[in-house]
Subunit: 312 residues, 2 copies
């Protein structure tokens, strides 16, 4: 039995799809703060069961560990920008939630954990593309801090209590069912004003994007490739796309004519935004995994599917 925390969320629900397609049994635990039942509804009762609970409720979480062999821990606050206004969300829904997951695993004899970390742990780095061996890791967002804190807890549990762990440092993951992020924001802006698209920052931010299908395939590939200690991998594509290009792609996908793309200026979207992220995915390559979509293809597919879901 696989336990997927945040399994009704964006990436979590795609992971559930993939596990089900492989014939696996899955239990989802999700507080539905950003996840949605309808993302996994088609599976429920068949090979998927769902526990609607918050990871801060350690009793419910502990009960959910029964019969579990592998935990896929994806639950977290998905809104990186929130940390600039509310400072305890990432601490609670990130760091303390991860502690609760690990402690529940230990008490119930569950020994395998796959964790969705983030390129945000690197902060603002000079080395591009950035390898896993880059240090020191000095995140500049509270979200990034909670991901690094969670990595360190997982690593300590492996070293002290013998858990086996896979840590995936994600690029920007995009695709159908996305509930946050720049493409989602652009579409909502175009819904409220079909003539103007305001872009935070100067549009020159460059980041790697990865399609969510590639992401969940990559996660399972990494788990299958290593079976001891802590395996830590960057998970992304080997190139980037700029924010201004994303704006163009979203406008193209919208079919709207004559949209005026305006920039607020400045080299980052908000305090804690990393202007440039490009992960070195050489280690992932060496496992024989290749993403099917480039950053730009992933952005385009995401824009088209979200416009379809949300409507303009």
């Amino acid at each position: 039995m696989h336990l997927v925390t945040g399994g009704a969320g964006f990436i979590g629900s795609h992971l559930v799809d993939r596990l089900v397609s492989k014939g696996e049994k899955v239990r989802v635990i999700d507080n539905l703060s950003s996840g949605r039942i309808d993302f996994i509804e088609g599976h429920i009762g068949d090979s998927v069961e769902i526990v609607i609970a918050d990871l801060l409720d350690i009793d419910r979480l502990s009960d959910a560990m029964e019969g579990v062999t592998t935990v896929h821990h994806l639950a977290a606050n998905p809104d990186i920008r929130l940390g600039t206004k509310v400072t305890d969300t990432d601490l609670k829904q990130g760091t303390i939630a991860t502690y609760n997951v690990l402690e529940s695993m230990r008490k119930n004899g569950v020994g395998r954990i796959s964790f969705s970390s983030s390129s945000a742990v690197y902060g603002e780095v000079e080395a591009m593309p950035t390898p896993e061996s880059y240090g020191p890791t000095l995140p500049i967002s509270l979200y990034g801090a909670s991901k690094l804190a969670s990595e360190s807890l997982i690593s300590a549990w492996a070293g002290t209590f013998g858990a086996t762990a896979w840590i995936h440092r994600f690029a920007n993951i995009v695709g159908p069912r996305g509930t946050h992020g720049v493409i989602y924001d652009f579409i909502h802006k175009l819904r409220s004003d079909r003539g103007v698209l305001e872009v935070l920052g100067n549009g020159l931010q460059e980041k790697s994007y990865m399609d969510v299908e590639d992401t969940v395939n990559g996660m399972l590939h990494i788990i299958d490739s290593s079976d001891e200690g802590v395996a830590l991998y960057n998970l992304g594509t080997d190139e980037t796309v700029s924010v201004s290009r994303i704006a163009e792609i979203v406008v193209e996908a919208s079919g709207l004519e004559g949209v005026d793309i305006r920039y607020t200026g400045g080299d980052r979207g908000w305090p804690g935004d990393v202007p440039r992220t490009w992960l070195d995915v050489g280690r992932l390559d060496s496992l024989g995994f290749e993403a099917k979509r480039t950053s730009e293809e992933a952005v385009r597919r995401c824009a088209e599917s979200l416009i379809d879901e949300i409507g303009l």
Copy 2:
């Protein structure tokens, strides 16, 4: 005004001594869980005031920020081994306490934080001596995880809210007033049995030790040398000493004759113990700082002073 968290503790009280000798005003906040009033008693009322409170009491902590320009955050659970039995002490007294310090600083407009991190953040590394740029940092103790989590919070606060930070990754710090660690343990073992000294592990563990006076001088040197963003430095000596040599030094310092040193065997003292730590202190050297005592000299001074304090 300087605020020293854990200022009645081992390293904290030496930092208070040094700040007072430089003519600075100091406020100490300490819950006295391992700190002792008599370590700083001589200064109180003069240039030092003390608030007896736990950092989890955010109201008391916030009150203590009044008039403070620099926070020296040293408070933490000092017993690394405790994490093998009690899993939430480092989370609460390390990670959450650091969050409370940062949030109280932000709310009170205090912008400078110096933090005592640890070589434990590196975990079990291949690169010796280990530079600050080593990555990924995968701690194997819950103590190390809480130090890395605290670093990441400090870095995020600097990146998001503009704090200025100094992070010191300590070697094993030893000296008078030590309340934990291998030398302290050996002396207590000799007190209960003057004929046998049992050493956990095979005695081959090799670690860097630094005298506590060198440590507090190094911390203040680093603060004086950098004034923007996050300055992160290893703080230690450039060589190591083995556990078996420490046992010999303690026995020599005790003056006892014919002590039988016995080893329990195994390459580490307990799960989560890192068998070998040796920090690369090249960056610290480049700031013009030099430790006065070697690892072995620091161990000997510590053994002599603790035997004097504790008695045999």
